[in-house]
């Protein structure tokens, strides 16, 4: 596979009309300091599919609110603009990438379990790392391997050869990508994120989740997802395409203020959050 070919395909995905019309509107509205909840809700409510997913999600076990939330207005009031925007972003990414590609015959169940697990783990770790928007951590974990989704949906043969090499040689998926394709899911995902104008923080996670020490500042979210990935691999939550636990970035770990003792105490919380987050999957895949 050539880089140019990847770029051509990614450009094609970007051209699909469904992607972030609402998202752009939301972003615009968020720039406006005087925007009202009802104005925001009006924009979101125009998209029926997103509205129904959003309402199902906020009423799911993931949040466990005691009362039923029946309007977008209410959802915004409870979760806040930024969290809602992040959730809509993940819906849009799924809608666009997974359109009509269910017939490929490749079981991605374990892969999505891993992604959801990383989202849930990132939410727990992120709160300890001082990240204020829990949904930002969740969606960053959920989408960090989006480059693998591009591979599986648009380059299935390449995807399968990478999987095979990773298993045969017992190496990480990303190492197999380097050997087979000469380009990695981190780069592909990063290219897509840039073309889609995804938030900078999310783009950084997608590009640097295997190499967090390569970025200089705002390392918190990237490191959170880096660690969430390692924890989920250790716990055996789904499969990211290989069965190995990669090295924790020691220099960032040392600066993170976390200790193994703290991590040990977080594990039950991570498991609990994963359990709750599983409802997210069925909602994302609903058409």
């Amino acid at each position: 596979m050539k880089r140019d070919e990847v770029k051509r395909v990614v450009d094609k995905i970007v051209g699909l009309p469904t992607f972030p019309v609402i998202l752009n509107k939301c972003s615009e509205l968020l720039q406006d300091p005087f925007v009202s909840t009802s104005k925001m809700a009006k924009v979101i409510s125009k998209d029926q599919s997103i509205t129904s997913k959003l309402l199902r999600l906020v009423n799911s076990a993931l949040y466990g609110f005691p009362h039923r939330i029946s309007s977008v207005n209410q959802a915004i009031l409870i979760l806040g603009f930024n969290n809602i925007r992040t959730l809509i972003l993940s819906f849009s990414v799924f809608d666009t990438l997974l359109k009509d590609n269910k017939s490929l015959g490749f079981d991605m169940g374990e892969f999505w379990k891993h992604s959801i697990g990383c989202g849930a783990a990132a939410k727990v770790i992120g709160s300890r790392m001082g990240i204020r928007q829990p949904e930002e951590s969740f969606v960053a974990g959920l989408l960090h391997d989006i480059g693998k989704v591009v591979l599986s949906q648009f380059f299935l043969d390449d995807f399968i050869s990478v999987l095979k090499i990773a298993q045969e040689k017992n190496i990480l998926f990303i190492e197999a990508e380097e050997q087979v394709l000469g380009i990695t899911h981190a780069e592909i995902g990063g290219y897509l994120a840039n073309r889609w104008n995804l938030p900078d923080s999310l783009t950084k996670v997608i590009i640097f989740h295997h190499t967090p020490s390569l970025i200089k500042d705002n390392t918190n979210l990237v490191f959170t997802v880096h660690l969430a990935d390692i924890i989920c691999r250790g716990l055996g939550v789904g499969s990211p395409g290989d069965d190995l636990v990669p090295q924790i970035d020691v220099s960032i770990w040392d600066d993170s203020g976390l200790t193994m003792r703290m991590l040990e105490k977080l594990l039950p919380e991570v498991d609990e959050e994963i359990e709750k987050a599983n409802s997210f999957l069925s909602i994302l895949f609903e058409k």
Partner: protein, 107 residues
């Protein structure tokens, strides 16, 4: 495992064999812990004796079971961590996971 007469039964003893009435209905399941109320009930049923687990027998069985589980988790972690076995942080992480996963299974 030993047979214990009704008047020698004490609260805290563990039933070693499932006890049934003449029609085969379960009266007490294997593994059940006796208490005063149950012992009273047994005398009403005119049951002469109950098979009780020896204390050591229970511990031994559990220990073997836990050891088996531990070995299985250890093996799977060994495979996952094979590339980072030289690193002290990763080794610490591995032992935390072993402890946690084992506890989770026992629960």
């Amino acid at each position: 495992m030993r047979k214990v007469k009704l008047d020698k039964l004490k609260p805290g003893m563990i039933v070693a064999k499932t006890l049934r009435d003449e029609e085969g209905n379960v009266l007490m399941r294997k593994g059940m812990k006796l208490n005063g109320l149950i012992i009273k009930q047994l005398s009403k049923w005119t049951i002469p004796s109950v098979w009780i687990k020896d204390k050591n027998e229970v511990d031994l069985q559990d220990a073997i079971e836990v050891k088996k589980m531990r070995r299985k988790i250890e093996q799977s972690l060994e495979v996952k961590f094979q590339r980072v076995s030289e690193d002290s942080i990763m080794n610490e992480f591995k032992s935390i996971l072993l402890r946690y996963l084992l506890e989770k299974q026992i629960r």
